[in-house]
Symmetry: C2
Subunit: 340 residues, 2 copies
């Protein structure tokens, strides 16, 4: 399986490391043999080599700051841009791991279209294209007879989508709700430990959980994008940000936290989707609620189903190898259908 990576930051490098470290194991147990044939970054160069790139050399080049440090090899191209890679490369799968633009999904969205239209599968960790245009992407994938997979966009590699879309097939899901943003959950947990909102946010930024501009996290937009993706995946519903009631945690005070504690409750930023719509809201949950004990940067989702009642999945919602695994699990899914 030949892969083209659009973006080669933390997540893309995480996938590359897993492919390097698990190559023998994946070959033995799953008959899975993947090769990175292209890597395109916005400002740190581009590489394309139909016979495959060397993963240690890719990672080494990035450590030195740019793909320009990748050694020359027969057949190596350094001048293909992302659009040309998506359209004309020999990759079987386009792996889109560039930063998300949640509103438009661009420029990633056009690359996904180009890849599907030219007969490539598309696997994403980038939420933007799926949140902005799931319906159109789905249609193009079906028309091309190719797969569109995006496990890593919700709860990183914790298999939230695979649970809802595959393992629960046969159940009717009436609602999904969860803690889908680790940064805000970390801040709320720190505030329970006595910090002010500002202190907790500063610590989250120091630890790399929150961006320098934390708006997308603390105002609920990251959780909302994930809710839109869940809604598309579970209910085939085209929600937009405008359709949703979205509220973040920046108004929550130490007094609010203390009042909840006194009542045996905890504040959690809860994203919720049903076939009718969706919302992101800070809610006070009783301490014995399954989502109340989900602490720190951990994420969780609860599916309400007709046959099983409530099914809750708890796990990591971010991280280099966690998100890398989300991509790998999609690649393995494509591989299984190929093989059979």
């Amino acid at each position: 399986m030949k892969l083209a990576l659009i973006g080669f930051g933390t997540v893309g490098q995480g996938l590359a490391e897993i492919l390097r470290d698990k190559a023998a194991d994946l070959q033995d147990k799953e008959g899975f043999d993947a090769q990175i044939v292209a890597v395109v970054t916005r400002a740190r160069g581009s590489l394309y080599r139909p016979d495959g790139l060397d993963i240690p050399a890719l990672l080494g080049a990035m450590e030195r700051g740019s793909l320009s440090h990748y050694p020359d090899q027969t057949g190596l191209q350094r001048d293909w841009d992302a659009a040309k890679i998506a359209r004309e490369s020999s990759a079987d799968v386009l792996v889109e791991v560039s930063p998300s633009n949640l509103q438009t999904g661009q420029p990633a969205l056009d690359l996904c279209y180009a890849a599907l239209d030219s007969g490539k599968h598309v696997v994403l960790a980038n939420k933007g294209p799926v949140a902005a245009a799931y319906g159109e992407l789905r249609q193009r994938a079906e028309k091309a007879g190719k797969r569109l997979l995006f496990e890593a966009t919700v709860m990183a590699g914790t298999p939230s989508l695979r649970l809802g879309m595959q393992a629960l097939v046969g159940c009717k899901i009436a609602e999904a709700r969860g803690i889908l943003n680790g940064t805000t959950n970390y801040i709320l947990t720190r505030m329970e430990g006595g910090m002010s909102y500002a202190e907790a946010l500063a610590q989250a930024q120091q630890l790399g959980y929150a961006e320098a501009d934390p708006t997308a996290d603390v105002d609920g937009w990251d959780a909302a994008a994930k809710a839109i993706i869940l809604s598309a995946a579970l209910f085939n519903q085209r929600l937009t940000f405008e359709d949703m009631d979205v509220k973040g945690i920046s108004q929550i005070t130490a007094q609010d936290i203390e009042a909840a504690r006194a009542a045996g409750q905890r504040w959690k930023l809860i994203a919720r989707v049903t076939p009718e719509g969706g919302s992101v809201q800070p809610l006070r949950l009783p301490n014995d609620h399954p989502l109340a004990s989900v602490s720190g940067s951990t994420n969780a989702v609860t599916y309400s189903t007709d046959l099983l009642g409530e099914v809750t999945l708890v796990g990591s919602g971010a991280g280099r190898q966690q998100t890398g695994f989300g991509l790998l699990s999609d690649l393995l899914d494509i591989h299984r259908l190929w093989r059979s």
Copy 2:
């Protein structure tokens, strides 16, 4: 897909009800069309009809106490025993849902062998055969080129095995631990509410959670059987009951519960397996441990993995339709591979 059901108690009837209620939906969405061609009970008769049995009539007959009340139909046989059904019927899948004998797996185990050897897939809710002889069953299934699936044996239909064996493929699982017996968890939760062990057990029996002879639950053997199944499925390891350190909850007193509460902890009966072995033990968990908040008859399992860290699944561990769904999800899994 033609099904032969061995056993037609709560679980078998649960599956039949789901097949009746979801027939159109499963046909539309999954292209799945299942027919029950045989039902065999120990003391309430046997039916075999190659052209399919009528589900409402089957359920109606059982309501009246026996399959002898099922109306006559062309081609209906009432005298095939389980062994003959397993060997000679036209079923594609043997669905083994008779009560478990945890030590020997019999008589179900021989029926599973017969079904596999004569070219049928085997799907089980009955823990006995899998706990007693997973290795041999696996071998016979491979030799026959047929599937052996048993999602319903651990946490009913909550997809604990599908999570560990499919959704986490690519991760290395170092340990599974969980609350795998709902009866004991219900008793412990009631004791936290102030009941004595004897009162809580009596209430569990009244609600149908615990058998008249509660030994298998309260002494940990049911959880141990599930741990053996997890160990087989995840680590391909042949644990026996003798290999495991198994302790139940019958020695836990109101004082123990109170001492834990005072320390911010809760007693839980925790089953644990690693590639090296397994155990079932009552343990005191801190209140903020992911398994501590799993209350009542709910079950949960945590997988410790290399790439994702800890992944926890929480859901129902018993029930008519929950276990019926576990069987359905295995049948859909077989169907998907057939179709592709």
